[in-house]
Symmetry: C2
Amino acid sequence: MTDRDPMEELVGLREGSPGSPVTLQELWGPCPRVRRGIRGGLEWLKQKLFRVGEDWYFLMTLGVLMALISYAMNFAIGRVVRAHKWLYREIGDSHLLRYLSWTVYPVALLSFSSGFSQSITPFSGGSGIPELKTILSGVVLEDYLDIKNFGAKVVGLSCTLATGSTIFLGKVGPFVHLSVMIAAYLGRVRTRTIGESQNKSKQNEMLVAAAAVGVATVFAAPFSGVLFSIEVVSSHFSVWDYWRGFFAATCGAFMFRLLAVFGSEQETITSLYKTSFPVDVPFDLPEIFFFVALGAICGVLSCAYLFCQRTFLGFVKTNRFTSKLLATSKPLYAALAALVLASITYPPGVGRFLASRLSMKEHLDSLFDNNSWALMSRNSSPPWPAEPDPQNLWFEWYHPRFTVFGTLGFFLLMKFWMLILATTIPIPAGYFMPIFIFGAAVGRLLGEALSVAFPEGIVAGGAVNPIMPGGYALAGAAAFSGAVTHTVSTALLVFELTGQIVHALPVLMAVLAANAIAQSCQPSFYDGTIIVKKLPYLPWIRGRSIGSHPVTVEDFMNCTVTTLAKDTLLEEVAKVVTSTDVAEYPLVESTESQILVGIVRRAPLVHALQAEPPSWAPGQQRCLQDILAGGCPTEPVTLQLSPETSLHQTHNLFELLNLQSLFVTSRGRAVGSVSWVELKKAISSLTNPPAPK
Amino acid sequence: MTDRDPMEELVGLREGSPGSPVTLQELWGPCPRVRRGIRGGLEWLKQKLFRVGEDWYFLMTLGVLMALISYAMNFAIGRVVRAHKWLYREIGDSHLLRYLSWTVYPVALLSFSSGFSQSITPFSGGSGIPELKTILSGVVLEDYLDIKNFGAKVVGLSCTLATGSTIFLGKVGPFVHLSVMIAAYLGRVRTRTIGESQNKSKQNEMLVAAAAVGVATVFAAPFSGVLFSIEVVSSHFSVWDYWRGFFAATCGAFMFRLLAVFGSEQETITSLYKTSFPVDVPFDLPEIFFFVALGAICGVLSCAYLFCQRTFLGFVKTNRFTSKLLATSKPLYAALAALVLASITYPPGVGRFLASRLSMKEHLDSLFDNNSWALMSRNSSPPWPAEPDPQNLWFEWYHPRFTVFGTLGFFLLMKFWMLILATTIPIPAGYFMPIFIFGAAVGRLLGEALSVAFPEGIVAGGAVNPIMPGGYALAGAAAFSGAVTHTVSTALLVFELTGQIVHALPVLMAVLAANAIAQSCQPSFYDGTIIVKKLPYLPWIRGRSIGSHPVTVEDFMNCTVTTLAKDTLLEEVAKVVTSTDVAEYPLVESTESQILVGIVRRAPLVHALQAEPPSWAPGQQRCLQDILAGGCPTEPVTLQLSPETSLHQTHNLFELLNLQSLFVTSRGRAVGSVSWVELKKAISSLTNPPAPK
């Protein structure tokens, strides 16, 4: 309409601020479309990020936090261990002083660890994975994930780990517990700040991801972190959980390794226990047979280990002396056990045959070594150096009289019971790493034997490919730890730890063989602990083919369920409430119809009954309906079983939805209930058909 | 009691056969305890093996069978490809003849593949993974897993693959389909021989394991086989499935590689696309940034690809000309498309810039190469050999005028639409491998650019670590294929394929970045196909935080459910049955009470109604109760929802138990039903709140 010069128009637009320079907004002023486009794009981006965001930010924070804690703990422990080594080296040649300097350190650390952590909270002992598994299956363990436990667990664990290979314990389990604690805490913080209430299934998703972070920040292994934690803590999982876990675990592992680079320990991000197996022919084809045999050996050994461990744990709990000691003075028990373990590992004594001067990392580094020690020591007998030689760690495993076979065998023999003893000490500690090293030693022993039996390699034709005992150590570690924990992902773990995946198939086959044996004979380490600790758990339905499919809810439900009808008199309600102690009662329409309409929780009902004025005149009888109308809350029944539902379906439901109990209705009438107790009974009667024993 | 000499007793025991030599049984005769012990042990072993056995044997058979098929197919294809190469080489220098020999081969093969497979069964086209996903979520696709399709798919796929890199298609998808077909067939055979009827959940477990076998026998990658198949075909899975999958996949992968060793292709069992990245410093720390950026680029590209692919697929289906061609003469369409693709890849023509003389395996081998082509070609310009040089495959990627950047860029540009065109051809073919190679080329391009930008490596201090474009190709392949299929396990796949895991963290981060972008913008390749093919599917609940938790069944259930009461008159029943066409009706106690008591399927009801003698005298009215008593079967309601059940719980139930529909009861009364339709509506109204568009 106007014929004004565009420049004039621009000037006209900034009438309000004459003389001021052209601002960005004014410059963009004439292009409303571009401006709107950009603004829209930014809005879209913001919305996208925000929509997907929330959870991702949460998971990233969790990963980074755990990585920081893991790195800081490693750093602190490294210093303490170095101080111990220095003390032991500088104290002179007096055997008594050396012995004292070797043993007093772990004894003091362990008794402090036990005393400190147990005085703050009784939940800080052990690995925490069994309890986590119970929590994730729907049981509420009060305060177990409280942030209060955090300090106790961190300090206790640091002390435990600072004892090094003397006590021979790891850090995976407690780290999973710590990570889950932080996740629960962050979840509560988020709920408080955002105001949005989290429901239980979402909480559980976060906890599973947190467990993955725990494993990933210890081993810097995101893949196996996710898979291992899923295998260990849950029985069903959604692909969605798995992606969450990957994201969080990657953040954690990346941060953890990044810190190592910044701490100048590494030049770049690499794996923890780097190996250098040749890529072209890592193993000859017939060796596959020995790998599978190694898996079977590890499977059998793991059964023996699990059985002895569970039995000994039971023995310690029932024996008069030890149970009293554990009940009254845990630090003393820890100190005694530490004294025994430290005395045995005293290097100039028996420890000479246990390679006890090596740290746990050095144990693994040496066991994964390419070369055959037996063949190398044939030519020249290596000396026993005053200090472990970082270039030739295997010298520690060699003894001129007993050779490497003697020391490896002795190591296995002794560590078998020492490990079992160590698991009874009430301190925060992980039991995965020692088992892993034990398995590596089993594999190494077989590998060394093979390398002596076939010094030229197995396939003689063409180029000679000597047998690498390190490959067997790798397979042994994966197979034994996999069998003890009933997991397959340990096979992946060894590859992520070593940065090489050349043994993929043989290791996987060894792990599967070991698992086949272990799973059919013994409950896993964590399930065993759940059983010994008498935590609630839901068994699997094993041997799915043998007649488990026709079993329906009708066959095993609890038929004697106490219902409360709306027309029940208050007197009777009071009687029912006092005579039973279930947490919730099914509410039915009337005594006659028994139509299920809701659930009444015990606590508010008792409360309402107590608040009721005792004016129960004979003529004016009040019934349950009245208190319900008066404000006693009822809950809706969201899911109900039928008598015709199959056992499998019920089991799936309980597992997936983390249920504790469900009511059974037939034509609307409440006819029974099913809880873990009934399910357990039904499952155990499947596997062991009722018969006189 | 007797004082006989034990030797005499032994002799006395073999009175029946005097003079015969002592048999084993007789020797053992006198030690009944040992004998019993051994027999007991054997019995126990037998029982153990048998108990766990059945399924394991089944899975092993499946793995071995698939490996044999995969190997045999590779062998046959190799021969055909070699014959084609020979023909092309020997036909002389006439351009016309060379062009014809180059194009006629794929045209003939593809039109045969299309004609043959489509004439036998319409189900043999495409990859089969989308259909499998639908089947595993509970939908019955008739005949899709019938063994009849097997031959058509094998022959068709072989022809498709024999065209090599001209048509540029893979084999993963069809192999998953083949494996699942065999599993379903073996399952039916087992049911027939043992007589035990399989229930549906067990069948599904087997199918998931079979999918893992399919992937594992193509890539010889058991870990990623299991994870990829789980991510692609299901949304929930149990740890039990996962172990099954591992066992079957390991058997398959082992057998597949074993055959390669026996076929003298390999000296021992190794990975398919071996790389030789340096282990010490595979990448400098700052390169992590470029890896993540590469992931983001791949994510954006994958969105573009998915969008174009879906649009073009829709266009081909709706366009008058192509839809007619596809409906009436599929082989002609296939031949035309093959002619276009083959003409473009003709090596002396445009194919010169597409490295089209390389097979798909050589494509990958060359793209994963350590060295920087750009730096190598700076010093000396390599020639274009008459034949691809196996030692220097990268010569194919180099052009003196356009350099490697030109060819790589042109390759990406052309393959983008050529791949989309290839996916529309109705033949049995996999679409994973081409996507994988495309991603590798994207990564390679970035890697080459970086190696030119930082010829001395990024961290200048200390030893020089030049940038390896091969690492970027690895990350690009994983990220792009992961983004297109919405999976994370492709990150693991590249490690299993190359036998090295040194880039674990950067590759995983790239894949996560790519997935974050792709998943928030586009449905996956398989979901997209499901949508285009109009197969039924259940969407995910995305963006879980935004107000999805308070939604309950009451809000979205279908309230207008037609119930049949036991006292309904037959006339009315007939009216209901003819006026509606649902598969099952809820059976209620009486018209008045509406208490749900069971389910009546439509088919037997119609049958019973037809069999009913038409003697409906006005005085003697018969009702539904009478036919039910007369033998019309009803089914029990095993699971029912309440109006208060949340959307999440319902979604979980449907997904886990592979349900199609459930009835909703309130106080026993049937008040509604929920099926996929209602769930889909509810979920879509969550993500897109109802608003006028």
